[in-house]
């Protein structure tokens, strides 16, 4: 079973702060990481491979230094990775075209796995776009997957219902965070991953021409989250409670 996982490198959203003067989010100097739900996709890929045999290949479009974060996924247990460095303007259209260019270079595959969305922008476009460009079925929001030799069954969590879908291969599946608990690689795993191959293909090697973005960012502005931050601490519970009730009374909610 050949499984490809699409992964994205993002900044840690919790660390983003808004510059008070410019009212812009400050993204420089933040740590990079693999988007959380992509790790669930990798974990699921490893699980299926361990059961059915085959290999897990990570594919990423991102900055050239992303090899460092990709190593984390190899340490988890993925077998190899393909990085397509791209630091010019992009949108989901550009990235999905680069991804399928890379996927076609990788040869035969049975399952392509993605996280349901990345935690920074949370659009969830890449999975369905890649599935359409490859003309294969998509099983989105899977919270459980059962892979057979001939077919795969996924339980899709639609909020108000669970829809169970079956598909033959190849198929694209996006997973939710509930599907599993991604493993933390041990030190041995991390050392072992150093020898796993990370292939780098330039954009020109995977597509004849890189499209221009169909969506252009004009502006990004911070949203202020100014709260009163009146915290009652280091006092008896009774006192804290009466102060809170008094405050809520003044707010007119009691």
């Amino acid at each position: 079973m050949n499984i490809i996982v699409c992964a994205k490198q993002i900044v840690n959203v919790t660390d983003i702060r808004i510059d008070k003067k410019t009212n812009k989010p400050v993204l420089q100097g933040l740590d990079n990481k693999i988007s959380d739900i992509d790790k669930n996709a990798v974990e699921e890929a490893i699980r299926v491979r361990d059961e059915k045999g085959g290999k897990v290949t990570i594919i990423m479009v991102g900055p050239s230094e992303a090899t460092e974060t990709v190593k984390e996924l190899l340490a988890m247990g993925a077998d190899e990775a393909l990085l397509i460095p791209w630091d010019q303007d992009y949108d989901y259209h550009v990235v999905s075209e680069l991804l399928i260019g890379g996927i076609k270079k990788l040869g035969d595959y049975d399952i392509i796995l993605c996280g349901e969305a990345s935690l920074d922008l949370f659009s969830g476009q890449i999975g369905p776009r890649v599935a359409e460009l490859l003309d294969i079925p998509q099983i989105t929001y899977a919270q459980e997957i059962g892979a057979d030799d001939e077919k795969v069954v996924g339980d899709r969590n639609l909020g108000d219902s669970i829809v169970t879908v079956e598909s033959s291969y190849p198929v694209l599946i996006t997973v939710t965070k509930e599907i599993n608990e991604p493993r933390l690689p041990s030190l041995m795993d991390i050392l072992g991953a150093a020898n796993k191959p990370i292939e780098i293909l330039e954009a020109d090697d995977v597509v004849s021409e890189v499209s221009s973005p169909t969506v252009e960012t004009i502006d990004i502005t911070g949203v202020s989250m100014d709260r009163k931050n009146i915290i009652y601490e280091e006092m008896p519970v009774g006192e804290a409670v009466s102060k809170l009730v008094e405050s809520l009374g003044k707010e007119g909610v009691i």
Binding site: T14, S96, Q138, V163, V253
Partner: protein
């Protein structure tokens, strides 16, 4: 042409409200799409709420599949030369829109909070970075596809005198290789956190499922109340059904008062409740992120704080 499709009626009415305004600015027609249901009464209603035209599509497939709906909508968009396509941003719409966009090589913006036309260009706004910022974007492709979350725009008042065309069509699709083998409806208690005035929300600070009763007792002090929860309580522990889940991939709420009880305040949770008027946090960890996002807070054990708080509110009311 501006084309609108959502599988749910209320969301469709909201989209028609905004769609009408955009169609007027573009000096184009607004068309609504109904798939798989020869519901003329619904088509009439869409016209009363702003549509100029309704495509009533008969097809060979019964249930929604993004692969198949992509084929239906691609045909309609190309035939009607639509330049702006609004798709309802429920789970179906969110997986349909990007697939459709890939087929059309079009730009797609997910979960827009505002849309306007500037000098003929389609400009969108959406929140990113878990609600910390708003991105203003411009669509540069021939067609623009935009998904619209529920409760973002208001429907127009129904105009029973409005005329429009209802066009019936039969569109056969190549069936997807995937097969729906089971649909299980999830437990419903009729709770609607999105409309609640006061929400008491539970997090991992609760030790047992039964203890949620404490939160319910606090909520019982208020009118228009609902119980909310963070991701682990619903998705991991299954203590409460999904309809209570507040967060980035759960429900987005804006009550008058939001009590976050035993919730650490991960950014994905904040994204779901940041529009609340007043946020009250109760947590035993003084460093919990939730306090940064709270108007009022008590650092303390919820098992001690909640019973006293319930008593105190009861006394204050009398």
């Amino acid at each position: 042409m501006v084309l609108a499709y959502a599988g749910k009626k209320q969301l469709m009415l909201e989209m028609l409200g905004k769609g009408r305004e955009l169609a007027n600015e573009l000096e184009k027609e607004l068309t609504a799409v109904i798939v798989g249901d020869e519901n003329h009464a619904l088509a009439e209603e869409y016209i009363q709420y702003g549509a100029d035209k309704v495509f009533l599509i008969r097809t060979n497939q019964e249930m929604f599949k993004a692969e198949e709906y992509t084929q239906i909508l691609t045909g309609l968009i190309e035939e009607s030369e639509s330049e702006l396509v609004l798709i309802g941003s429920n789970k179906d719409g969110k997986e349909l829109a990007p697939r459709l966009a890939a087929k059309l090589k079009a730009g797609c913006v997910s979960e827009c909070t505002d849309i306007h036309i500037d000098d003929g260009d389609i400009i969108t706004e959406r929140t990113i970075f878990s609600g910390k910022a708003v991105a203003k974007e411009k669509i540069n492709s021939k067609q623009g596809i935009i998904t619209v979350p529920s409760k973002t725009f208001d429907p127009l008042d129904a105009d029973t005198g409005r005329n429009g065309d209802i066009i019936e069509k039969e569109i056969m699709v190549d069936p997807s290789r995937s097969k729906i083998i089971d649909v299980k409806e999830m437990e419903h208690s009729g709770v609607n956190v999105e409309d609640a005035e006061v929400i008491v929300s539970c997090g991992r600070g609760f030790d047992n499922r039964e203890d949620i009763e404490l939160a319910e007792n606090l909520a019982a002090q208020f009118k228009g109340r609902a119980i909310g929860c963070s991701r682990p309580i619903s998705a991991d522990l299954n203590w409460l059904p999904e309809e209570h889940w507040v967060g980035l991939s759960g429900h987005k709420v804006k009550p008058r008062v939001y009590f976050a009880v035993g919730i650490s305040g991960q950014i994905q949770h904040i994204a779901g409740m940041r529009d609340s008027d007043i946020i009250v946090a109760i947590n035993k960890d003084p460093d919990a992120l939730i306090f940064d996002n709270a108007d009022y807070g008590i650092v303390g054990d919820l098992y001690k704080v909640l019973p006293e708080l319930i008593d105190a509110i009861e006394n204050a009311k009398t």
